[in-house]
């Protein structure tokens, strides 16, 4: 992966001149632990996907032949794209505001971003059920005000899944976006204004392009996390939105078709690596994950 300007290229490109710090020895036990507890099971999953129920590419063929799996993948993809788009839109607005308000207000805004961020996904999904149901708070209020005659179906369908997922993902979009925006020198926008650009043009042609690495990083991060959603679709989807995580769980635990389940897991993992690979072309992954 290509490190962006300013980062130190340790371990990339395999150049022999890199000196290994003696302290690196200290991480060896951890590395061994990771290999044993993480890499080995992963290899095993990979192996099962090729060997159960029989050796070969039979499970992977299902990606093409089984309409059910194709449809499930398509649903996953669709839901993730929509969730990511809305999370990024809302996240950008919040992050932009946070980067531009006074410190005192920023603190409060940060608090309101972080508190839901820390609340369990289960609690958040169930909270939505009390808001969005046919007799939930939202529908009751709207009916009482005479705005609607019949309750709007807002959950136990794909809309409910999207609301729950976007709500969950917004903080994940805000934090990297905010970090990126804080790194933008505010004087360049002032300079653009000074040179005759209107407020919108200064944003569109100066601020937005400068925040682009942050947008890509946050977007890929959010998309990757949405791919693995399990609880929210299960609770708010009314059984009609089947995404890959739940599908894998059903194949492993319920129907005990480990080959198909492992195949889906491998596909999911490959997709995540692919996306990380794409992202690494735009941003320094180590800074994104807090390694520097």
């Amino acid at each position: 992966m290509t490190a962006s300007a300013g980062s130190v290229a340790i371990g990339t490109g395999g150049t022999p001149r890199i000196a290994v710090s003696p302290y690196a020895v200290l991480i060896l036990p951890l590395l061994a632990l990771l290999l044993a507890l993480y890499a080995y099971p992963l290899v095993k999953v990979l192996w099962i996907s090729f060997s159960d129920p029989e050796l070969g590419f039979g499970n992977y063929e299902k990606l093409i032949t089984a309409t059910g799996i194709r449809r499930m993948l398509w649903t996953t993809f669709k839901v993730c794209i929509i969730t990511t788009s809305f999370s990024m839109l809302f996240g950008y607005i919040v992050a932009y505001a946070m980067a531009h308000v006074a410190d005192r207000h920023r603190l409060w805004m940060m608090l309101f971003v972080l508190v839901p961020f820390w609340v369990s996904v289960l609690a958040r999904a169930f909270s939505w059920t009390t808001l969005l149901g046919d007799k939930g708070i939202v529908n009751t209020e709207l009916t009482d005000w005479g705005l609607i005659e019949h309750p709007i179906p807002m959950m136990r369908n794909q809309l409910g899944v999207l609301i729950g997922m976007v709500h969950y993902m917004v903080p994940y979009a805000v934090l990297p976006l905010y970090a990126a925006m804080r790194g933008i020198d505010p004087r360049v926008v002032s300079a653009a204004r000074g040179l005759g650009a209107g407020p919108f043009e200064a944003f569109w042609r100066v601020f937005l392009p400068l925040s682009l690495p942050g947008i890509i990083a946050a977007g890929v991060l959010v998309f990757i996390l949405t791919l693995g959603f399990f609880v929210t679709p299960a609770i708010l989807g009314g059984g009609k939105t089947l995404m890959i995580a739940e599908y894998i769980s059903a194949q492993i635990l319920t129907t005990a078709r480990w080959g198909v389940g492992s195949m889906c897991a491998v596909v999911l993992l490959a997709l995540v690596f692919l996306l990380l690979g794409i992202m690494s072309r735009f941003v320094d992954l180590r800074s994104l994950f807090g390694a520097k």
Binding site: G68, M72, D134, G239, K240, L242, A250, L253, T254
Partner: protein, 369 residues
């Protein structure tokens, strides 16, 4: 998945009962007395196999742990000196398979659907049932299998809101949204749904199996916009309490709780309910040994204990003799009371053993389309 989930569900009901103060914990002494009254073959058999330190029974946690541990486990320990540990972490098929294939079986007995017992048995993941220890006569025929026995019943019953549905609806009405408008709910994990759809489509109960899956799915699809799918038992109950559905294909234990909590506003019909036989299996190479696994199952066949356990968390007894020990109210709620069972359609365990994974995947595909 069905039976374990169902077991877990019974526990949830019981937990809420306990919290609401509707029931109290039956004491060990009562249970021990009940056991003392029934002749068991343990003392004679003690010398045959090395006595293990403990039996580990796996079910779905919460207070199924307490009910099984107190009402079956403690008297078993008093009788044999073998401790009973109840592990509530959930004996899903995949979990049993993983455990046995890794050569690390830690469970001696697991809750399981009967069709699941056949499936797991075919895969070589279970110890055979030893019918010289387990008594066939204490199990309603024909629900004894090479690799598992009927241990309890549950049922998918047509449950309805009497204020919104006139008369007693049938599956035909369930699928007729013109005649009876309103949302319906069915189980997301399929069991009971296709059977109901085909019965509604005019298939006679005796011709139901093998299921015409495509026809059933088409029937479900015809009212898809009017169906919400429940996944956990508590959810099915909540849908009725919130008035979001007018009819549902749900576990009858939930129906009876709903009937009580709504003072009869919500009730259910036994007619053409889909009865599910479920029970116990012994995973291959269980730590206590196959013989003790069988003895544990044999112990749980006691009808009085089974009625106690039904009182504890709703699990319907498998032993036909248990029916005679029930109060009329318990009989009314019991899936396998003869007068209730004759109205129902029992799911074909051999059909489901053969087709469960394919049909479940087809169903999941159809409902999430």
């Amino acid at each position: 998945m069905t039976a374990p989930k169902f077991g877990q569900d019974c526990v949830e009901i019981w937990l809420s009962d306990l919290k609401a103060g509707r029931i109290n914990r039956r004491q060990f002494l009562t249970a021990a007395a009940a056991v003392g009254a029934s002749p068991l073959l343990f003392s004679a058999g003690d010398a045959l196999a090395a006595k293990p330190a403990q039996i580990v029974h796996s079910n779905f946690g919460g207070d199924a742990v307490t009910c099984t541990g107190d009402l079956y486990g403690k008297p078993f320990t008093a009788e044999t000196g073998v401790n009973v540990v109840v592990d509530g972490s959930g004996p899903l098929e995949g979990t049993i398979q993983q455990m046995v294939e890794a050569g690390a079986t830690t469970w001696d007995c697991c809750d399981s659907d009967c069709f699941s017992a056949i499936r797991l048995g075919h895969k070589g993941l279970l110890e055979p049932i030893d019918y010289s220890i387990v008594d066939r006569n204490k199990i309603l025929a024909p629900y004894t299998y090479d690799y598992g026995v009927l241990g309890y019943w549950y049922s998918f019953a047509l449950t309805y809101d009497t204020t919104k549905v006139p008369g007693v609806p049938t599956w035909v009405d369930f699928f007729d949204v013109e005649k009876m408008p309103g949302k319906r709910t069915m189980w997301k994990w399929m069991n009971g749904a296709l059977e109901a759809a085909l019965l509604a489509d005019g298939v006679a109960p005796q011709d139901l199996f093998p299921l015409d899956v495509d026809r059933g799915l088409a029937k479900i699809d015809s009212i898809m916009d009017h169906i919400v799918f429940w996944s956990a038992g508590a959810e099915s109950q909540q849908l009725f309490l919130d008035g979001e559905v007018v009819m549902g294909n749900i576990w009858q234990t939930r129906s009876s709780v709903l009937e009580r909590d709504t003072d009869g506003r919500v009730t259910w019909s036994w007619d053409q309910a889909i009865a599910m036989p479920a029970g116990w299996v012994i995973p291959k190479n269980n730590p206590a040994g196959a013989e003790w696994g069988n003895r544990w199952i044999a112990f749980m066949q006691d009808p009085e204990l089974q009625v106690e356990v039904m009182g504890c968390f709703g699990q319907g007894p498998a032993n036909p003799a248990a029916v005679d020990l029930m109060t009329p109210e318990q009989r009314r709620l019991h899936v396998a009371a003869p007068e209730n069972l004759e109205k129902q359609v029992v799911a074909d365990t051999y059909y489901w053993a053969e087709n469960y994974d394919d049909v479940l995947n087809a169903y999941l595909d159809a409902i999430s389309a």
